[in-house]
C-alpha cells in the first residue's frame, strides 16, 4: 500500500491540500470532502428498474414508484405523475418500503394442530392440499340442497370468508367466483365493517 492510499486521504492532509488548491481557507467545505462523499449517489438513481405502483393502505390511491436493485425493493416513494397524489405520501404510504421489506414479516407457513399448544412447520404444498381437503369435507358435511319448504338453496353455511378490501380486484373476483361455485355464500369483507 502506497502513500497515496494510506496517508494522503487522511482528513488533515486532504484539508491542507485543498485549502491551498481550492481556496477553502478554513477547510470546512470542499477540502473536507471524503472520497465516499464524492461518490455518493441516490439509490433512486442506481436502481435496476422502477416499477409503477399504488399505495396499499387507504383508498385515496396514491401513486407510488418502486425502486428495485438486485431483485430487492430499495426504495418506495410517491409518483409525481399521479393526478391523485402528485408524488406525495402520508406516513403510512411513506413507510411502505418497511412494510414490504420488514424482517418481522412472517414468511413461513405456520400450522397449529387441533388442541396444539404451539405452531409447527408445514410445507406450503401440503398446507394447500390439507385446506382443499377441509373445504371438500366441510362442504359435504354442511351441504344444503333445499330448504324445509323444498326450495332450491344449493349452498353450504359451513364455510365463511372475511377479507378482500386490501386485495386486488382480480383476487376478489376469484374468491367470489370460487366461493359461489362451492356454494359458500358467507363471503364478506371490510366493506361491511
Amino acid at each position: 500500500m502506497g502513500i497515496r492510499e494510506t496517508f494522503l486521504p487522511w482528513p488533515v492532509f486532504r484539508q491542507v491540500r485543498s485549502m491551498v488548491a481550492a481556496g477553502d481557507r478554513l477547510a470546512r467545505g470542499a477540502a473536507a470532502r471524503s472520497s465516499r462523499t464524492d461518490q455518493l449517489k441516490p439509490r433512486t438513481m442506481t436502481a435496476d428498474r422502477v416499477v409503477g405502483s399504488v399505495c396499499p393502505y387507504c383508498a385515496v390511491g396514491c401513486g407510488q414508484l418502486v425502486y428495485v436493485k438486485g431483485e430487492q425493493v430499495v426504495q418506495i416513494e410517491g409518483d409525481p405523475a399521479s393526478p391523485v397524489s402528485r408524488g406525495r405520501l402520508c406516513p403510512k404510504g411513506a413507510a411502505t418500503k418497511q412494510l414490504v421489506t420488514n424482517p418481522l414479516r412472517e414468511t413461513r407457513v405456520r400450522y397449529r394442530r387441533p388442541h396444539g399448544t404451539d405452531w409447527e412447520d408445514l410445507d406450503l404444498d401440503r398446507a394447500l392440499d390439507m385446506i382443499a381437503d377441509r373445504v371438500i369435507a366441510t362442504r359435504a358435511q354442511t351441504w344444503a340442497d333445499r330448504d324445509e319448504q323444498g326450495r332450491r338453496l344449493r349452498r353450504t353455511m359451513g364455510i365463511a370468508a372475511l377479507g378482500g378490501a386490501t386485495l386486488d380486484n382480480e383476487e376478489n373476483y376469484l374468491i367470489k367466483k370460487l366461493g359461489t361455485a362451492l356454494g359458500a355464500v358467507q363471503i364478506e369483507n371490510q366493506a361491511r365493517i
Partner: protein, 876 residues
C-alpha cells in the same frame, strides 16, 4: 380527513388557499379541525338531527335550489295517501309490524305507480292475491333484502302514471312531506340533541347555504363516522337530501364523498366479496323468487332506467363463470348459483360460529380479533371452528388468539381444549404481485409486480386459483350433482414464474368481458343476453377496452386536462363524476361558467364537456319519452339520475330501505339521553344479535341503570396506524409515532373521574373492560345535551396484543347491534364507564364486567325493545 386521508387532504388545503371555507364536524378536534375555519363539536351519534336541522333551515327559509329541485329530484312527486310520517306516529312510519320488528313499505309508495321493492312487482306479475303480495313483500323484508338494489334504486311500474306537482304545493308531494317531517328540527332542537350551540349552528347553516347556488357548490366528505351506526344508511341519505335540495350532486365541487379506508375496498364492493351481491351489484338469488333466470331478471331488473338491461349483465356474468357449460338451454347455469335466505353477513357468521354451524373460516388480510365489533365474540367464535385459514403479513391476533388471546389470560379458554386447526399462510405484498386496486373515487389503478414474494408468501390470486384447481382435481369424476358448479367452472388461467403465479391480466380481461371470439369488449353497451358475450363485472366493462389494460395508464397529470382521464380507468365508462348531466341546467347549459362541467352542444347535437358525459351521448335535453318506453329510453332528456327508474334524485325513498323513506333522528343503541324528538328511542328496525350471553346491551336514556355507563364512547383511527394494525403495528417507523393504546378525555372528565394525564384508565362496557393510557386534552369538549352535560371518551381501535406496539383492543368494548339496511355495526357511538387505574388481570376482568352488569340491572331484554313509543298506530 387530515387524520386518515392526508394526501387527499392536499386538495382541501388547495381549495382553502383559494378561499374555500373548511368546516369540521366531529366530537373531537382532530388534525382536520386544526386546519379548519370552523370546528363544530357534536355528540357522537346525532348527525341526522344536525343534518335534519340544516334541511329544515333550507326549507323554512326557501333556500333550496328551486330549478334543480323541481327538475332533478322527486320533490314534485306525490306520495300515496296511506303514508304516515314519524310526525304522525311518534317516530315510526306507517307499515310497522311488531311481530317481526320490521316495516312493510307498501304505504310509502308513489301515488299511481307501483314501486316494486322487487317482491311486490314479482307477485303482481304472477297475478297472485293482494294478501299474498303483502305477505311476500313482508317476508322479503324480513329476510333482509331491502338493500339489494346496490347501484340502482327500486323499479317503478307504470311510470307515466306518476303524479307530479311542479309547484311543489300539493300537501302530499315529497317537498311538502319533507317540510313537515323536519319542521321540529329547529336550531334549538339541534342544540339540545347534538350539543351544538345555536349560534354555531347558525354559522354552519349560513356557510353551507350561501355556498350552494349556480356559481358555487358545497361538498360533504365522510368516512365511517357516518356509517358505523344503527342508522348509518340514513345518515348518508340525510346528506343526500340536503345536497339534492341545494343542487350539489352531479356538479363539480359538490357531492357526498365517501372517504374509504382500504386500498381496494371500493373494488371489493364492486366485485363483491359480499354475501348479498354478485359482481356489478347484481343481487344474489333468493329461493323465494328466483327459481329461474327469467324470474330472477323479472324480479330485480327495472323496466325503466339503465337497470332495464340487467339480463344482459347477468347472462354475461354466468358466461364468465361457467363458460361453454352455460347455454341458453340450461338457463346459462343460473341454477348453479347458491341462494341466500336472509342476512348472511359477517356478524351472522360470528353467531353461526358460536352456534357451531359455521365450521371453516378464511381470513384474507383481515383481523376480526381486533377490528370487528365485539372482538371477544369474534375470538370465541373462532375457538368453535373446525379449521381456520389466516392469510396475512404477520402473526396477527386473529391467528394467535388460541395461545395468547385475552380469553386465555382470563381463563375462559384453555389452549389444549381448543379444537380449531389453524393454518397461517403468509401473503404477498402489493409489490410482489400484479393487480388493480379501485380507489375511493371508483378509479382502477394497476400496480405491477416488482419482485418475487419471499419464502412461502404468495398472492391471494395464487392461493385461490391453486386451491380451486386442487378442489377441482380432487372432485374430478364426481357424479354428485352438487359438484357440477365446481367441475364446470371456467377456471383456466395461464401461470408463469417460479411459483406458477396465475395471470392477473387474464383475470382482468375476464372481468372486462370478451366477445365470442375472445376479443375484449369496450363498453357495457355491447353486452348481450344471448350468451354471445362473457363479462365478469359489467360496470368494469371497458377497463380492458381495445385489448389494452386501461387501468395501467399513467399519463402524467401535467400532460392532460384537470379531469385526467388518461390516468387509470374509472367505472362506469371512465366517467370521473357520476350523474354529471346535473352539472347543466334542464336545457343543457352549464349552470354557470364557473361551474361548467358537462353540457349539450346543440350544434353537434351531443353532450360534451370536461368529463365523459354520464348520459346517453346524443339524447337532447328536450327529449320526452313516449308512453311505454323502456330502459334508458323511458327517461327524458332532463333526468340526470339514469340508474333510477324515474331518473330523479330521491329525496324520498319509496322502496328499497328497511327503516323508512326519510332519515329520522334516533338515538344510538346505547345512549345516555332519551330521544327528544319522538317516543321512539332507537331505530325500531335496527338489527340486534341473537347472543345476549356474549353480546349484552346496556340501558339507555332515562332507563334504570343507564347511569352506570354515563359516558359516550367513540372509536376512530389515527394517521400513524392502519385499521386493526396488521399493516402498521409491526412497522417500527409507524409504531414509534403512536406507540401505545390511549384514550382521550376532556380536562373536565379527567377531573371528575380522577384521571391523570399519562396515567392509566380502565374503560368498561357490558361486553368487556380494557385499559388505556390517558391523554387529557382540550381537544375533547363536553357537550350540553338535553338537560345535562355529556362527556365523551375517544378510543383509537388499532391495538391488540401482538406486534411492536401493543395494547388492549377498543373493539372488545363494542357490540353487534347493526344498521338494518347494510348490517354495519354501531361502533361510533355507544356508552361506557371510565375509571382510573389498570384493568383487573386474569379472571377478575370478567368479574368486574359481571359487577357492572349487575349494577346496571342488565337482563337479556335490556336494550332489545324495537318499538318504544306507545303511540304506535294512533294519529298524532
Amino acid at each position: 380527513m387530515a387524520e386518515c386521508h392526508p394526501v387527499g387532504f392536499q386538495w382541501v388545503m388547495e381549495a382553502k388557499a383559494r378561499g374555500a371555507t373548511l368546516i369540521h364536524i366531529d366530537p373531537r378536534l382532530t388534525r382536520t379541525g386544526a386546519l379548519a375555519d370552523l370546528h363544530v363539536p357534536i355528540r357522537a351519534g346525532t348527525d341526522i338531527a344536525l343534518l335534519g336541522g340544516l334541511i329544515n333551515y333550507v326549507l323554512s327559509n326557501g333556500l333550496e335550489f328551486r330549478e334543480y329541485v323541481v327538475n332533478y329530484t322527486n320533490a314534485a312527486t306525490i306520495i300515496n295517501e296511506e303514508f304516515k310520517d314519524t310526525e304522525d306516529l311518534d317516530g315510526l312510519f306507517s307499515g310497522w309490524r311488531d311481530d317481526t320488528s320490521s316495516y312493510s313499505s307498501d304505504s310509502w309508495q308513489y301515488e299511481g305507480v307501483r314501486v316494486a321493492s322487487a317482491a311486490g312487482k314479482r307477485q303482481q306479475g304472477a297475478k297472485q292475491a293482494r294478501e299474498a303480495v303483502e305477505q311476500r313483500a313482508y317476508q322479503r323484508h324480513a329476510t333482509e333484502r331491502g338493500h339489494e338494489h346496490g347501484s340502482h334504486g327500486a323499479a317503478l311500474e307504470d311510470l307515466h302514471k306518476l303524479r307530479r306537482d311542479e309547484t311543489l304545493e300539493h300537501p302530499r308531494c315529497v317537498f311538502q312531506l319533507l317540510k313537515r317531517h323536519y319542521r321540529r328540527y329547529t336550531p334549538e332542537m339541534v342544540a339540545r340533541i347534538c350539543g351544538i350551540p345555536e349560534a354555531l349552528f347558525g354559522q354552519l347553516a349560513r356557510a353551507v347555504t350561501e355556498n350552494s347556488n349556480r356559481n358555487r357548490t358545497t361538498a360533504w366528505a365522510y368516512a365511517v363516522g357516518w356509517t358505523q351506526h344503527t342508522v348509518g344508511v340514513q345518515y348518508i341519505r340525510a346528506a343526500s337530501v340536503l345536497q339534492l335540495l341545494l343542487g350539489n350532486i352531479g356538479r363539480p365541487g359538490g357531492g357526498i364523498l365517501a372517504l374509504r379506508g382500504h386500498a381496494s375496498i371500493q373494488g371489493s364492493t364492486d366485485i363483491p366479496t359480499l354475501y348479498n351481491l354478485l359482481p356489478g351489484y347484481l343481487p344474489m338469488p333468493h329461493p323465494d323468487s328466483h327459481g329461474s333466470l327469467d324470474e330472477y331478471v323479472a324480479d330485480d331488473s327495472a323496466e325503466t332506467g339503465y337497470w332495464g338491461n340487467m339480463r344482459a349483465y347477468a347472462v354475461s356474468l354466468l358466461k364468465a363463470y361457467w363458460g361453454d357449460a352455460a347455454t341458453a338451454d340450461n338457463d346459462f347455469c343460473f341454477d348453479y348459483l347458491p341462494r341466500i335466505t336472509g342476512d348472511h353477513s359477517t356478524y351472522q357468521t360470528v353467531q353461526a360460529q358460536l352456534d357451531g354451524t359455521c365450521k371453516g373460516y378464511f381470513l384474507n388480510g383481515q383481523n376480526p380479533a381486533v377490528g370487528s365489533a365485539n372482538a371477544r365474540a369474534q375470538r370465541l367464535g373462532m375457538a368453535n371452528l373446525d379449521w381456520l385459514v389466516v392469510r396475512d403479513f404477520a402473526l396477527i391476533e386473529s391467528a394467535t388468539w388460541w395461545k395468547d388471546g385475552p380469553e386465555i389470560e382470563s381463563g375462559e379458554l384453555r389452549t389444549e381444549e381448543i379444537a380449531t386447526e389453524v393454518f397461517f399462510l403468509p401473503a404477498a405484498a402489493h409489490t410482489e404481485k400484479d393487480g388493480s386496486f379501485t380507489n375511493t373515487q371508483r378509479m382502477l389503478q394497476w400496480h405491477q409486480k416488482a419482485v418475487e414474494p419471499p419464502g412461502d408468501a404468495r398472492s391471494d390470486l395464487w392461493f385461490w386459483y391453486h386451491l380451486g384447481r386442487r378442489i377441482r382435481a380432487k372432485l374430478a369424476g364426481s357424479t354428485n350433482e352438487r359438484d357440477r358448479p365446481i367441475l364446470d367452472l371456467n377456471w383456466h388461467y395461464s401461470t408463469s414464474g417460479p411459483n406458477s403465479e396465475p395471470s392477473a391480466e387474464e383475470v382482468l380481461q375476464e372481468i372486462n368481458g370478451r366477445r365470442g371470439d375472445g376479443s375484449c369488449l369496450s363498453t357495457y353497451e355491447e353486452l348481450t343476453d344471448d350468451g354471445s358475450t362473457a363479462c365478469g363485472c359489467w360496470i368494469y366493462c371497458g377497463s380492458y377496452a381495445g385489448g389494452v389494460n386501461q387501468t395501467a395508464r399513467r399519463k402524467p397529470h401535467t400532460e392532460q386536462n384537470w379531469v385526467a382521464h388518461e390516468w387509470g380507468w374509472a367505472w362506469p365508462a371512465n366517467r370521473r363524476l357520476l350523474y354529471n348531466r346535473a352539472s347543466a341546467d334542464p336545457q343543457g347549459r352549464p349552470w354557470s361558467e364557473r361551474k361548467a362541467y358537462v353540457w349539450w352542444d346543440a350544434e353537434k347535437k351531443k353532450w360534451t364537456g370536461h368529463d365523459v358525459p354520464d348520459f346517453q351521448p346524443t339524447k337532447p335535453p328536450d327529449y320526452r319519452p313516449p308512453e311505454g318506453a323502456k330502459r334508458q329510453d323511458a327517461l327524458s332528456g332532463v333526468d340526470p339520475f339514469i340508474m333510477q327508474a324515474d331518473g330523479k334524485g330521491w329525496l324520498y325513498v319509496p322502496a328499497g330501505l328497511s327503516d323508512g323513506p326519510l332519515p329520522t333522528h334516533y338515538e344510538p343503541q346505547e345512549s345516555p339521553v332519551p330521544n327528544l324528538l319522538y317516543g321512539q328511542q332507537q331505530n325500531p328496525a335496527r338489527q340486534l344479535s341473537r347472543r345476549r350471553d356474549v353480546d349484552p346491551y346496556q340501558p339507555s336514556g332515562d332507563d334504570r341503570g343507564s347511569q352506570v355507563f354515563p359516558y359516550v364512547l367513540t372509536t376512530y383511527r389515527l394517521t400513524e396506524h392502519h385499521t386493526a394494525g396488521g399493516m402498521s403495528r409491526w412497522l417500527p417507523y409507524l409504531s414509534e409515532l403512536q406507540p401505545e393504546m390511549f384514550c382521550e378525555v376532556s380536562p373536565e372528565l379527567a377531573a371528575a373521574v380522577g384521571l391523570d394525564h399519562l396515567g392509566w384508565a380502565t374503560i368498561v362496557t357490558a361486553r368487556s373492560a380494557i385499559e388505556a393510557r390517558v391523554l387529557v386534552t382540550d381537544r375533547m369538549v363536553p357537550v350540553r345535551v338535553h338537560d345535562r352535560i355529556v362527556h365523551q371518551v375517544g378510543l383509537p381501535y388499532h391495538w391488540g396484543r401482538n406486534g411492536i406496539t401493543t395494547g388492549d383492543s377498543a373493539n372488545d368494548l363494542t357490540h353487534m347491534s347493526l344498521d338494518p339496511d347494510v348490517h354495519i355495526q354501531e361502533v361510533k357511538a355507544l356508552t361506557c364507564d371510565i375509571r382510573p387505574g389498570r384493568r383487573p388481570r386474569g379472571p377478575d376482568r370478567r368479574r368486574l364486567i359481571a359487577e357492572y352488569q349487575q349494577q346496571a340491572g342488565l337482563v337479556a331484554a335490556t336494550g332489545t325493545a324495537h318499538r318504544t313509543t306507545e303511540r304506535h298506530g294512533e294519529p298524532a
